[in-house]
Amino acid sequence: MSSRFREHLEEALFPPLVALLVALICGDLLIMSYGQSPATVYRLLLEGTWGNAYGFGQVLYKATTLIFTGLSVSLAIRAGLFNVGAESQLAAGGFVAALVGLGLSPSMPGILAIPLCLLAAAIGGSIVGAIPGWLKVKYGAHEVIVTIMLNFVVLALLNYIVAAKIHVPETLHTPEIRAGGIARLDSFIPAFHGSAANLSILIALVTAAAVWVYLFKSKRGFEMRAVGLQPEAAEYGGVSVGGIWMRAMILSGAIAGLGGINYVLGYKQYYEEGFAGGAGFLGIAVALVGRNHPLGVVLAALFFATLSQGGLAIHAFVPKQMVEVLQGVVILAVAMSVPEVRRALRQARKPVAA
């Protein structure tokens, strides 16, 4: 194994492992404060998630959205940008997809309708992503604050549109789409019966692969990573830093927007107020734990999805709020260990002498 690959692997794996350890310890404490045995509870958690088909289906479902938001955030981070707006980009994407799905004729075959709706979702998200990108390039406005503020603006706007114009009475959702629906897994695999898991997971995995190819095999990806590491050097190498930033925010928004299809096309087949449910913010955690690498993102998404679904499974023993505490703890632990690990590894490695 080349030394550089091993270097990368070490720096990548240590923080999540540390986080896992911290989460386990915290979990033990919380569980014991409820008078329960950690071993029993963890076993129950695993059984309720990966141990049965329905639970596993739910894990897959939740992971799907997180893969999209995680990829979105990690792509932006590779370009040196922090996209906190995945939540509203996700919602916007789902909304536009629902609109298109409503507008299409029911007789249109899925082969045409689904890609159209996917495109719609990506466009919806990319518009929301482009705004902070443009403000950064043109005015130097810091994307962290702009995306946080824009989240509120976009969500309020969507709320208004749905509440005032397009909702089914007595509900907070749009009418069911007429075309572009994505099949649930339980329609092929009866064991998944009742779970929300749908074929969007495949689209999510394909997207992850595409992001990998883009980042590590393409010219623009090379330039994007250069900008994220040392913008002055990228500029010296002829890269248009502003151009890369715009690209990164648009792509990031598009991928987050695409995440909307999981709920809107796959599960409920309509857009509903609040369907994003914090997945945009959790996407930040997923990107962080996944070390901003598509493969890591997929694994991290599965991890957080398991936690989330597991919380429901153990509800009789420990309140599911414990899971929320663990989420926060894991994020903090990873955030604190990343610089620490990097520093420790750098001390340990001696540069090769000339």
Partner: protein, 533 residues
């Protein structure tokens, strides 16, 4: 009894005594058994090339770092490993090369920071201003006490830094390369201030790599090389040549002719067959009336005109800070210019961006390889691609991994980059090898014009010779090279023609054969000012 009495007397002889100092940062041994002995009431020069360990030693003195081994005594007292506060309390004041001033605060606020005069709970700003003005008058260091530091000139800011140390009762002053950013009149003012402080009983340590300054102002000299102290001299009775030899560790040729002939290259002044300077050939690069506006709204490049023929090296000498950096950046496309034109092979590139200029045949070895020239976390292979993505890419936007790896292997071999492993992160190579990556990339692609800015700075001696050879080979192949270097010897050794850059303008461009350190030195200090017509 006698023994210890003598020992006591010994120790008190020195204001500063550092012995056997070791300090390692990661894998870099910045100080290896370094020592320093400074008598009270003297101006002591600490000299050495970049990377010799001078700054580190002073950081240890100032309490910013603790030594890994060794002892330190100030005025006879053992103070090894003390903190910044203790150092300040003991009267050590450090004026850093990069000013430690808070731009949004005023001069008075910066000076009293950490020792603020108070009235109850309130910060007594009026008292601070009064105290600063009083001190300013006493020492002759004029500063506007109530103005924000961001609005000051460089000379004024430096005076604030000095006042900061004096406010805290500094009796031992350490100045790190103070003249790097000063104009000659400002340098003369500084010398007056320093002499005044010395005569009033202060001790001064001056870190510099400028031999002429050492001779002019210092009473004693300590020479450092590669982390060690190699020689201690008294200034009267030492020539610049002796100091230079101690710094570099070998007989340094101070004239271009000797060095050039030693390396077997044609002496400047000897015309190669077929090449006649008066031939009206198309220039490889032609720059006319270039003006660049700098950060303080001044013309940092003030109407520069020159041209370079294919197969020629034009060397620009000059103290750093006279516009050389901005000139190179403007030529590369990294800095906007105010007016003027740039033509490469007759083609006007003034409006073109960095990538387009590279396409037009421009290569650039940047002054700052760590921030500009390399992406430290990229592998050697990837760094060899930086700026050449289009070359190694396909039309569909993908990079051709095989061709990239082949290129990397070839260039690593050709330029002897060590260790010869393309997958190592650039961060892990030595400075010399890092520079070789940049050289390999910039000179290994097809180019017509090369901008080489401080190409051998911080590079070990073996690599320096290698780089010089490469530059001569490129010239022989018909490339045009603009060489900017703060090392006069290097400029004289490599160039066909030389000019000096002073305050944004070029002096007259003369053939290198007609130039000497003395004559160029006059241009560099501004005492002679024939502009390039």
């Amino acid at each position: 009894m006698t023994g210890s009495a003598t020992a006591l007397g010994e120790r008190e002889k020195y204001a500063i005594r550092m012995t056997g100092i070791d300090k390692t940062f990661g894998a870099v041994r910045a100080n290896r058994g370094a020592s320093l002995e400074v008598r009270p009431s003297e101006i002591h020069a600490l000299v050495g090339e970049n990377g010799a360990g001078k700054s580190t030693l002073m950081k240890i003195l100032g309490g910013l770092q603790a030594p890994d081994a060794g002892t330190m005594e100030v005025n006879g007292r053992d103070v090894t490993g003390w903190s910044t506060s203790e150092a300040i309390a003991a009267g050590i004041g450090v004026v850093h090369q990069h000013f430690m001033l808070v731009p949004t605060l005023t001069v008075a606020e910066n000076i009293v920071l950490g020792m603020e005069p108070v009235k109850g709970m309130r910060f007594d700003y009026a008292a601070a201003v009064a105290q600063v003005e009083k001190l300013s008058k006493e020492t002759g260091l004029a500063v506007p006490a109530d103005r924000k530091v961001a609005e000051l000139s460089v000379g004024e800011a430096q005076r604030v830094e000095i006042l900061k140390t004096l406010y805290r009762g500094a009796k031992i002053l350490v100045l790190d390369e103070p003249t790097a950013v000063l104009s000659p009149p400002e340098v003369r003012e500084l010398w007056t201030v320093l002499r005044g402080l010395r005569d009033a009983g202060g001790t001064i340590v001056l870190i510099t790599h400028r031999l002429d300054e050492v001779v002019e102002i210092s009473d004693a000299i300590t020479v450092m090389r590669a982390g060690q102290t190699v020689e201690r001299l008294t200034t009267s009775g030492t020539t610049p040549a002796q100091i230079a030899r101690a710094m570099v560790g070998r007989e340094v040729a101070l004239t271009s002719r000797d060095e050039a002939s030693a390396l077997g290259a044609p002496l400047t002044g000897e015309i190669e067959p077929g090449f006649h300077p008066s031939d009206d050939m198309t220039s490889a690069i032609r720059v006319a009336d270039l003006v660049v506006i700098g950060s303080r709204n001044t013309r940092v490049v003030d109407g520069v005109t020159f041209s370079i023929r294919p197969g020629e090296i034009l060397g620009i000498a000059g103290v750093e800070g006279n516009g050389q950096t901005e000139l190179i950046e403007a030529l590369a496309g990294l800095r906007p210019l105010e007016s003027g034109t740039i033509r490469i092979n007759g083609h006007d590139v003034t409006q073109e961006n960095v990538a387009e200029r590279r396409q037009a045949g421009l290569s650039h070895i940047p002054e700052d390889r760590h921030h500009r020239g390399l992406i430290l976390d990229y592998s050697v292979t990837d760094n060899l691609v930086l700026g050449r993505q289009e070359e190694f890419g396909s039309r569909r936007g993908m990079l051709n991994g095989d061709r990239i790896r082949e290129n990397s292997k070839a260039q690593i071999a050709e330029f002897d980059i060590r260790p010869p492993d393309g997958e190592i992160a650039a961060r892990n190579l030595s400075g010399g090898n890092q520079q070789k990556i940049v050289i390999a990339r910039e000179m290994g692609q097809s180019f017509g014009v090369l901008l080489a800015s401080q190409p051998t700075r911080g590079v070990d001696v073996g690599a320096i010779e290698f780089i010089h050879t490469r530059l001569r080979e490129a010239r022989a192949e018909g490339k045009a090279i603009l060489l900017v270097s703060a090392e006069l010897k290097e400029v004289l050794a490599l160039s066909d023609r030389v000019a000096v850059m002073y305050r944004g303008k070029f002096s007259k461009i003369i053939p290198a054969a007609e130039a000497s350190e003395e004559s160029l030195g006059e241009y560099m200090t501004g005492s002679k000012k024939e502009d390039a017509a």
